[in-house]
């Protein structure tokens, strides 16, 4: 049974610090809302008349972007890793593209896909897909030499080899990429919602609330993006534990 009190201590200490930082004037009330205001604003972020549509829109876009980037990243990673002479140059291209801050590419995606949801999803797919791809490349390359010898002695080949040997062998590494990818998807969707003149999404809410000076709702929206990010990672960790059940054991 997990003890409850260390959690309570931490939450109270956090809220206390927050509260006193404001009352003692260490942080200006013009910059930070108090915990009470944020908690009061939280229901309006989730209400139909409030920002529920924005929450769902951000969830949908980031989730969709991640789901598209997984097969793309893994497939390209596979091609690069088993690309023979093409492996090094192709790996360089992937690494270079990944090094471009994806936000710098937002204007390009805006021109290609317009100001709607498509451009935000595209930026997120680009960024998330590349980290997944890099993780997949290293996963497909880092093979256990004993298992390699055994599968060679078994003459495992073709699609059977990919599905039974290569892909599962790469899975632990791929999951590292998935964790990074899901966070990137959310980050880029929220950032592009703020940058591009969009009409929906938590990024837009955050930008709007700053302009209208509704700090309670501003910080409530930030809190919700944090909750979404945490939720994605939690879900992924659960899936990883089931799928890569042998990790650390074999």
């Amino acid at each position: 049974m997990r003890r409850a009190w260390p959690w309570a201590v931490l939450v109270l200490a956090g809220l206390g610090t927050w509260h006193f930082a404001l009352t003692l004037g260490i942080v200006s009330r013009a910059a930070l809302a108090g915990p009470e205001e944020v908690l009061q604003s939280l229901p309006s972020v989730f209400s139909r008349g409030g920002n529920l549509d924005d929450v769902l829109s951000t969830l949908f876009k980031s989730g969709l972007a991640f789901l598209i980037s997984v097969p793309c990243g893994v497939a390209v990673g596979f091609l690069v890793a088993f690309g023979g002479p093409m492996r090094e140059p192709a790996g360089f291209v992937v690494d270079f593209l990944r090094s471009i801050p994806a936000t710098a590419l937002v204007p390009m995606f805006l021109i290609i896909y317009g100001t709607g949801d498509n451009s935000k999803v595209a930026v997120a797919v680009f960024s998330s897909g590349l980290v997944i791809c890099l993780a997949a490349v290293s996963g497909f390359q880092s093979r256990n030499s004993t298992r390699l010898a055994v599968s060679q002695a078994m003459r495992l080949a073709g699609l059977r080899r990919v599905l039974l040997s290569d892909l599962p062998e790469a899975l632990p590494q791929i999951f590292i990429g998935l964790r990074a990818g899901v966070s990137l998807s959310l980050i880029l969707v929220v950032v592009s919602e703020m940058l591009i003149g969009s009409n929906r999404g938590l990024g837009r809410v955050i930008a709007d609330m700053r302009n209208t000076d509704d700090k309670g709702r501003l910080y409530a929206a930030i809190l919700v993006t944090g909750l979404i990010g945490y939720g994605y990672n939690w879900l992924l960790a659960k899936i990883e534990k089931t799928v890569v059940h042998w990790r650390g054991l074999a």
Partner: protein, 258 residues
Amino acid sequence: MTSGAGRSPVLISAVDIAKTRQLGKLRQRILDSITFHIGEGDRVSVVGPNGSGKTTLLRILLGVEPPDSGQVLPAAPFNSIRMAYVPQDYRNAFYPWLSVRRNLLLPFEVDGAGRALADLLQDYEQRSRAYRISVDLGKYPYQLSGGEQQVILLLRSLMSDPQILILDEPLSAVDQGRRPLIHADLLNTLNSAATSVLLATHDIAEAVLLADRVIVLDQASPRVRTVIDVPLGWPRSPEVRSRAAFGDLVARVSGELM
């Protein structure tokens, strides 16, 4: 040093194999001028202390590790020789993402070989009963003990009826009480089939029991120290261990390893 070819047609030859190994900053030559032939039905044991290059030699013969110089010459295209391999590192020999059952049957899925599933499972049941081992096939490999893992690997390799069986310390984690049961089954199999064997082991009695000749490697030199013929003949039963000639051979091999 060359060890004589068997009387039977050669299945696979190692010719003038040399291999160095990187140990930190040091390059160490672990194999040099190694030449031998394995004929159809030839049984060859390789003994030697730790680090003498047994595992490397087996991996070179298997075609998974290239020699620095020299050649491995199979009689037929390499891929057409049915090989079964039990690696020393048994923990990494399984696909941990597949159940023990799936791991056990994998080589037969690959071959698409004619053996029916029921037939294979019966073979498995028979042998595992003989070894007095009972494994829950629904488990994952990492849930088995080391000895169980080794026995499953050996069982699988025997079930596949290979032309050549490459065994790298296949019973190192199996308890002493069970080894004679497995040796008996191995002899049984070798008595009735023309399977070739290349066995690396630290168990000198095992090396003599299962082989026609024993290649002795040592650590001081990367070359073959000596090759000892084992004229015990086939078919062979476990009782051969009680013959004076067997004791003499074990003593000779031990003497070479001193």
